[in-house]
Structures are given as structure tokens and as C-alpha cells.
């Protein structure tokens, strides 16, 4: 069960994105200069051209990786945390608690995420923290469902029954036995939530609800549309940010599917050996 080729591709793509993140901290003089004329096509001095106010597109692209990656990863972390917590509580305790958690999950699953986020973000105002909060609070139901299914499986297994028989406390069982066993699902869910979060953040910024002080790739797309770069045919201002979003989410998807597959196989072989 080695690392598959798709996973290696995922890691390669991901490291190229993190390289961008590192390069974004280079001092000012390494980047193309701010030019007087807008929409300069790519040239040696501005490798990706300039945008509507003469800024170097490459520089904005590198800096955009900061907001896109941190918001994507942090909000996926919040979402996976909430989902895992609710899933474990729901699956392990069962009964009324389970019923309540499941209704809550179903509810959040049905409410359309992006429009809801837009409403919340419009009230809370555009800031880094709010975007993370809004995505994190709304993107957990799928994780909760999957973690719950696994938690139920473990809670009903013979070894947990044995633990209860020898008098182990509930908290002890959850922390020592349930959580380590759902870790694999939670991890794969986290890695698979990052691309959704990155695309959602880009969507919010695209509508104009992103943090203007921390421009992301979505912000670049927003300006390309609203300030007319698109109709000007200045493809260099919006093709690269979109490609960056695609590469990043593809990287996380490939790695996430790899983790998921390996985890499923290990669960299967464990069940066979029992």
C-alpha cells in the first residue's frame, strides 16, 4: 500500500503552491515595478503583465496565495473540528442526542451554503476572521455524517463493549478509543474540505465580500470582472488566479482521495482479520 501516483502528483502540485507562498515574502525589488499604464501584456519586466491600475499581476498572484491558503486551511480546520465533534457525540451517545444531532446535520445540509454565507458575510462585514468563521460554521455537515457512521461502528464493536464491561468511563472511551479510530476519516475529510473552502472563499471575494486588506485569488477575479479587465481582453489578469485556485484544490483533492482510499482499505482488512 505505497503512495499512489495520483498522490505524488497531488504532493507535487501542493509543493508548487507552497513555493508560491514562500516567494510572496520576497522583498519588493524582486517583483516587476508598478507601471504607469494599465493592462500591459506579459513582458520581461512584468512576467504576467499588469492589471487595471498598473500593478504587477505576478506579485498580486503570489500575495494572493497567502489569503487563499490560510483561509482555506483554517476554515476547513474549523469545519472539520465541528463536524468531527458532532459526529462523535452523535454516533457514540446515540438515543435522543443522536436524533438531535442528526436533525441538526440534515438541516444544515439542506440550507444552501453559499447564499447563506453571503447573507452572514454581508452583515458581519468583510474581514479575514469573519470569512473563516462563516465558512467554518456552515461547511461541517458532510463530515459529521461520515464521522458519525464510523463512530457508530466503533461504539457497537466488541472491544468497546468489553471496555464498558470492565467499567471504563464514557469520556475515557471517547478520547482513548473513539477519537483515534475516527482520526483517519476526519483527516481525509479535512483534506477534502480545504478545496471547497478555497473555492468558497474565492466565491465570497468574487462577489466583493472578501477582506480588502488581504486580497486573495478570488479578489483578483472580482476586480478583473468589475473593473473591466475581462471585457478589455486582458486575459493575463484573470487566467492565472483561476489556474492557481484549480491547482491548489486539485492538489488537496488528489491527496484527500488517496488518504480516503488507504483508510478504507485498512478498515476493510481490519474487519477481515476480526
Amino acid at each position: 500500500m505505497g503512495t499512489s501516483r495520483t498522490e505524488i502528483l497531488g504532493f507535487l502540485l501542493l509543493s508548487s503552491v507552497f513555493l508560491m507562498l514562500i516567494f510572496s515574502f520576497l522583498p519588493e525589488e524582486y517583483f516587476g515595478k508598478k507601471s504607469q499604464s494599465p493592462y500591459l501584456p506579459p513582458s520581461p519586466s512584468n512576467p504576467l503583465g499588469t492589471n487595471d491600475i498598473g500593478e504587477d499581476v505576478l506579485k498580486n498572484l503570489l500575495i494572493g496565495s497567502r489569503a487563499s491558503l490560510t483561509i482555506g486551511i483554517l476554515s476547513a480546520l474549523v469545519a472539520t473540528g465541528i463536524g468531527t465533534l458532532i459526529g462523535v457525540i452523535s454516533g457514540f451517545f446515540g438515543g435522543r442526542i443522536d436524533e438531535f444531532c442528526r436533525s441538526l446535520t440534515d438541516l444544515f445540509l439542506v440550507i444552501p451554503g453559499l447564499p447563506m454565507m453571503i447573507v452572514l458575510a454581508a452583515y458581519l462585514g468583510p474581514s479575514y476572521f469573519n470569512v473563516i468563521l462563516v465558512i467554518g460554521l456552515l461547511w461541517w455537515p458532510a463530515t459529521a455524517r461520515i464521522v458519525r457512521a464510523r463512530a457508530v461502528q466503533i461504539a457497537n464493536s466488541a472491544f468497546v463493549e468489553g471496555l464498558i464491561a470492565i467499567g471504563a468511563g464514557r469520556g475515557y472511551i471517547v478520547i482513548k478509543h473513539i477519537l483515534p479510530n475516527v482520526y483517519g476519516v476526519a483527516l481525509s475529510r479535512f483534506v477534502l474540505t480545504v478545496p471547497s473552502a478555497i473555492i468558497l472563499e474565492a466565491g465570497l471575494s468574487f462577489i466583493g465580500l472578501g477582506d480588502p486588506r488581504n486580497p486573495s485569488w478570488g479578489t483578483a477575479l472580482h476586480f478583473a470582472l468589475t473593473r473591466g479587465a475581462l471585457l478589455h481582453g486582458a486575459w493575463w489578469t484573470f487566467i492565472p488566479p483561476g489556474l492557481c485556485i484549480a491547482i491548489t484544490s486539485l492538489a488537496f483533492l488528489l491527496i484527500g482521495f488517496g488518504i480516503e482510499k488507504r483508510y478504507r482499505e485498512s478498515v476493510k482488512s481490519m474487519e477481515r482479520s476480526l
Binding site: D106, L107, L109, V110, I111, P112, G113, L114, P115, M116, I118, V119, L120, A122, Y123, A149, P195, I199, A202, G203, F206, I207, G208, L209, G218, L221, A224, L225, L230, L231, G233, W235, F238, I239, P241, G242, I245, A246, I247, S249, L250, L253, L254
Partner: protein, 324 residues
């Protein structure tokens, strides 16, 4: 019958939750809720004019106890009084009613067509997932999945409208435009949505088919020598239908959200474009309304999906609920 009643109650309470949220948000946020109802500008004028202010308070019932305000809010929602859009200067409900058909015109055919194509592709690549052709198709679907739909819309617009000049740059057909003109406006946003939905549904069906094809009744069916298409539909698709319907209904929310952003790129005057206008103007009544209408659409789709599942799955039909 019990099941029907239960699911009706569930979806009805979901709509109530959305309406309640709309009621609560302006009132729990810091500041005067009237700012959110009238917009900064009108609020600014009203504050300096006590008579006008009192009139507004009276008209919107903001001096009444909260519970009474809530009752009025709910009655207003069900009677189509969704507030007044200060940026449009018109009742919100009118704007929504005018623009919803455009969104439906775009999403409905795209969803139906992508269901048909997506299921066909999904069955094919799920049945033999390790074939080269299946792998390539899967990669393409994955690739589409990781691209933002509105970005692809921008690329399409650049290539087909600006470079090749096949179709107009955006906007919607006018009532007097010919069929060809109408199609030329519709074709780009439609293709983007079709591409995204098809990729998504194909991936779901692929996953379900891979799972089903490991079951023993599949081996039986093969040994009986069933024809391929008959076999696909009866033995591969049928057992996957309930989860497929469930996932598709949930996904409709995602589809609609994607359509909202695609509309913005193409200046398609539907709900998404309205949402952008509302956000730019911070027109809160209109923001709420666009969210509400999308939510109601998705909830309705889920309710229909629930009904269909009950109709298709004998276990649900007889016992009331699938235990998972």
C-alpha cells in the same frame, strides 16, 4: 402516510427557520435594525426628521413587542410582502418574481440534461473503473470539480465572445429577439452549468456503481447473461437510485449557488445577478430575499427527492424509514 406528514413537517419547519433567521439577523446585529431595513441613506435622512422617523417606525411596526413583530414578519412572508428594496425603489417580491424565471430558464434544463448524461457516464466509468478511458474521464471530472465555475465562465466569455465572436458578450434575450438570438445568449452560461453538473453527477454515480458492482447479485446477473444496457439499468442503477436522488437534491443547492456566480459573469439578469447588485448596495431586504428564494427552491427539491425515494425504495415505502 405518517412518513409523508413527517417529511412535510420537516421541510415546513426548515422554511420557518429560514424566515426566523431573516427576522433575527437585523435585530441581533449591533446598531439600529432600521439601518438594515431602509439602508444608510434613507436612515440618515429619517434620523434628522423625527416626524418621518416616527412614521417609519409605525409603518414597520418596530415599536411593537418583538413577539408581535415576529408574528407580522411571518404573516408577511407567506402573503408575499418581503419588504422594500431601497436600491431598486420597488417591493422586493416584485423584483424576485421578475428575475426568478431567468434563473430557472438557465438551471432547470441544465440540471435535467446533466442528470441524464452524468448517469450514463457514471455507470460506464464506474463499471470498469480501471480502464484507460474511465480513468481519463474521471480525471476530467476531477479537474472540472477543482475549477471555480465563474472562472471558467470568464474564460468561455473571453474565448467565444471576445476572441471568436461567436456569441454576444452577455445579457439576456429581449422579448422581441429571435430564437437564434435567445440561444446565443443562453448557450455559454448553459454549457458551463452543464459541464459542472454533469461532472458532479458522473462522480457520484461512479462511486455508487463501484460499490454496487462488488455485490453478489451482480455476479449472478452476469452469469445469467443479461444484456449490457438492461443490466446497467436494472442492477447497477436501481440500487443506487435512493442515495443518488438524495445527493442530487442536496447538490441542487450547490448547483444553484454555482449558477448564481455564473450569472454574474454573463450579466444574466437572474437571482445571482440580483444578489450581486444587492450586496454592492448593501440592500439587506433584497439580500435576504435572494437567499430565501434559493433556500425555498432547494428545500422544495429536497422534499420532492424525499417523495421520490419513498416511491422507489420498497423498504421506505413499507417501513417508514431506512435505518442506516
Amino acid at each position: 402516510m405518517m412518513r409523508l406528514l413527517k417529511s412535510f413537517l420537516k421541510y415546513f419547519s426548515l422554511i420557518l427557520i429560514i424566515v426566523t433567521l431573516n427576522f433575527m439577523l437585523p435585530r441581533v446585529m449591533p446598531g439600529d435594525p432600521m439601518v438594515f431595513i431602509f439602508g444608510e441613506e434613507i436612515y440618515g435622512i429619517a434620523v434628522n426628521n423625527p416626524e418621518l422617523f416616527a412614521q417609519f417606525v409605525e409603518k414597520y411596526g418596530l415599536n411593537l413587542p418583538l413577539i408581535e413583530q415576529y408574528r407580522i414578519h411571518i404573516i408577511n412572508f407567506f402573503t408575499g410582502d418581503w419588504g422594500y428594496s431601497f436600491s431598486f425603489g420597488r417591493p422586493v417580491f416584485e423584483i424576485i418574481a421578475e428575475r426568478l424565471p431567468f434563473t430557472l430558464l438557465l438551471t432547470f434544463p441544465a440540471t435535467l440534461m446533466s442528470l441524464a448524461i452524468g448517469i450514463a457516464i457514471g455507470l460506464r466509468i464506474g463499471w470498469r473503473p480501471n480502464r484507460i478511458s474511465s480513468r481519463i474521464t474521471t480525471s476530467i471530472c476531477l479537474l472540472i470539480h477543482s475549477v471555480p465555475s465563474y472562472w471558467l465562465s470568464m474564460v468561455f466569455l473571453l474565448v467565444f465572445s471576445l476572441w471568436l465572436r461567436f456569441v454576444p458578450v452577455g445579457g439576456a434575450p429581449r422579448p422581441d429577439s429571435t430564437l437564434i438570438e435567445a440561444i446565443s445568449h443562453l448557450i455559454l452560461p448553459f454549457s458551463v452549468l452543464l459541464l459542472f453538473n454533469t461532472a458532479y453527477i458522473a462522480m457520484i454515480v461512479r462511486g455508487l456503481t463501484v460499490e454496487v458492482s462488488e455485490e453478489e447479485f451482480i455476479a449472478t446477473a452476469i452469469s445469467k447473461g443479461l444484456k449490457h444496457w438492461k443490466f446497467s439499468i436494472r442492477h447497477l442503477l436501481r440500487p443506487s437510485l435512493p442515495p443518488l436522488i438524495f445527493l442530487t437534491a442536496i447538490e441542487l443547492g450547490f448547483t444553484l449557488s454555482g449558477a448564481l456566480l455564473v450569472e454574474i459573469v454573463f450579466n444574466w439578469p437572474g437571482i445571482g445577478y440580483t444578489m450581486l447588485q444587492a450586496v454592492v448596495e448593501r440592500d439587506y431586504p433584497l439580500i435576504h430575499a435572494t437567499f430565501t428564494i434559493v433556500a425555498v427552491a432547494v428545500i422544495t427539491a429536497n422534499a420532492i427527492g424525499d417523495l421520490l425515494t419513498g416511491f422507489l425504495d420498497p423498504r421506505v415505502r413499507n417501513n417508514g424509514d431506512i435505518e442506516n
